[in-house]
């Protein structure tokens, strides 16, 4: 009897441990505007024969002490609030190291590690919430004022979580480092209240994610989103809409666009926990849809592609 009670207690404890919702990751990055203003941009080929400009974070972190200080200060203050951030510089170093290792590792028979173009594309510094930092110093004679913007963005829905901004009082003596540190300290609480409101909404109305449905061209199953499937001969797109309405929190989602090959769902509110109490993320939600579609009466093979905590793509027709 005692043994049974002990096992039951252990099981309850493990369920409680798993029941914690997944903590979003946060990372501070300089905004594109700041990178452009301060000359930290680089050109890369855009695949169409021309070039495009993207922020050069490595160069910015290597040469701008002010940026490093501002990021370090925000990291410090957020850790104080029990929410340590991902460090951009460390993430960039990690990616470089992974790429170097990837190029060196071979099997005994000389085969390289498998990597698809999409794997390569996904290997970038990312977090679920990006905190964009911008500042600008204006000088009027001996006086300096600092304008400062801190804005949180949900990486996957692209929505702004809110932010904090302001302009310091004119200073004759303080250098940029001091002004910047003062601005971070003064604005971080307002930013955190926005973040708290975002998390409160998440707990009340579910996590907001995006989901895309795609079709493999000329797939073996011979289906697209207009194919009539199941016993009621409903169109596949309608079947998916029905499943979404049943399985989202209070049926909340919006369909951004659709065709026979594509459907995009945004503002999809998924529950934070599965029916067994385990934390739910977008991939788990997408897998539930995949399981629904590959069972009777639909029997549609599907592939789930995870794009992080907030976005998944389900490709129908093949594995």
């Amino acid at each position: 009897m005692k043994k049974f009670l002990f096992i039951a207690a252990l099981l309850m404890m493990s369920v409680a441990a798993f029941s914690q919702a997944k903590k979003p990751t946060l990372m501070v990055m300089p905004s594109d505007a700041w990178c452009y203003q301060n000359g930290y941009m680089k050109s890369i080929p855009d695949g169409t024969g021309s070039e495009k400009q993207i922020p050069d974070y490595e160069e910015a972190l290597r040469t701008s002490m002010d940026l490093k200080l501002a990021i370090a200060k925000i990291n410090d203050l957020m850790a104080e609030r029990g929410f340590p951030l991902k460090d951009l510089e460390q993430q960039l170093k990690l990616i470089q190291q992974q790429t170097a290792e990837q190029n060196l590792v071979t099997s005994k028979s000389g085969n390289e590690m498998a990597e698809s173009p999409i794997d390569n594309l996904l290997r970038v510094a990312k977090a679920d919430i990006i905190i964009e930092l911008t500042w600008d110093v204006k000088e009027q004679g001996p006086k300096r004022t600092l304008s400062y913007i801190l804005e949180g963005k949900d990486s996957y829905t692209g929505k702004s979580i809110g932010g904090s901004n302001g302009t310091s009082s004119p200073s004759f003596s303080a250098d940029l480092t001091v002004l910047l540190e003062e601005a971070v300290v003064a604005h971080i609480d307002n930013f955190n209240s926005r973040l708290q409101a975002y998390f409160d909404d998440l707990f009340a109305n579910g996590r907001e994610v995006s989901l895309e449905i795609r079709i493999f061209a000329d797939n073996a199953a011979g289906i697209d989103l207009e194919s009539e499937v199941g016993t009621d001969a409903e169109e596949l797109g309608e079947v998916i809409d029905g499943w979404m309405a049943t399985n989202t929190v209070e049926g909340r989602f919006s369909k951004l666009g659709s065709s026979e090959n594509y459907a995009a769902y945004e503002q999809v509110r998924i529950p934070l926990y599965k029916s067994n109490g385990v934390a739910m993320d977008t991939e788990a939600f997408a897998r539930q849809l995949r399981n629904f579609l590959r069972k009777e009466p639909y029997n549609i093979p599907c592939k789930v592609l995870n794009r992080g905590l907030g976005k998944c793509i389900i490709v129908l027709g093949e594995k």
């Binding site: 609030r81 029990g82 929410f83 310091s168 300290v185 307002n190 955190n192 973040l195 708290q196 998390f199």
Partner: protein, 165 residues
């Protein structure tokens, strides 16, 4: 000798209600939390620098109540900014917190309450203005908002940023 003892006892008996009355009045003023709070500058890390105006018939009582009112203001009111001073939201996440945890806050703001740990005078001169029959006293104080927030989070009064994850 007997007469002296009698007079002393009588004076004591008369004085106690007078002190109690003043204290009661101060408590009454405090219980209503009649004050104004404004930003007095950007505080150092972990603190808010605020100017609090409190009202009382006695200037010294109003000055003392400013500390209590400052902590109350940081928790429930927040304050506006301007002129390089950054506005701050209240620490309480929603409006009903004060009613919901009434007993906790009654103890917290009592004279021997915990509020005292999170506030200190800055040494700036206090301003006293006579308004009708009472005094309006303005004092600049520093509130240890990070420590205050941690205490409220530990007491379960407000949610921490990472709670629930």
């Amino acid at each position: 000798m007997k007469r002296n003892i009698l007079l002393f006892t009588l004076a004591l008996v008369l004085a106690i209600p007078a002190f109690a009355g003043a204290k009661k009045k101060a408590e009454k003023d405090t219980e209503h939390f009649r004050y104004e709070i404004e930003c007095a500058g950007n505080g150092t890390q972990g603190t808010y620098l605020v100017k609090v105006w409190s009202y009382s018939r006695r200037a010294n009582i109003a000055a003392e109540q400013c500390k209590k009112n400052a902590v109350h203001g940081v928790i429930f009111k927040g304050y506006t900014g301007g002129n390089g001073c950054v506005a701050q939201r209240p620490l309480a996440n929603h409006a009903g917190v004060e009613m919901e945890y009434e007993e906790y806050f009654r103890q917290f703001f009592s004279d021997s309450g915990e509020y005292y740990k999170y506030v200190s005078l800055t040494g700036a001169a206090q301003e006293v203005v006579k308004v009708g029959k009472e005094y309006k006293v303005g004092v600049i104080v520093s509130v240890q908002k990070d420590e205050l927030r941690k205490a409220l989070e530990q007491a379960g009064v407000i949610r921490g940023l990472g709670s629930g994850f």
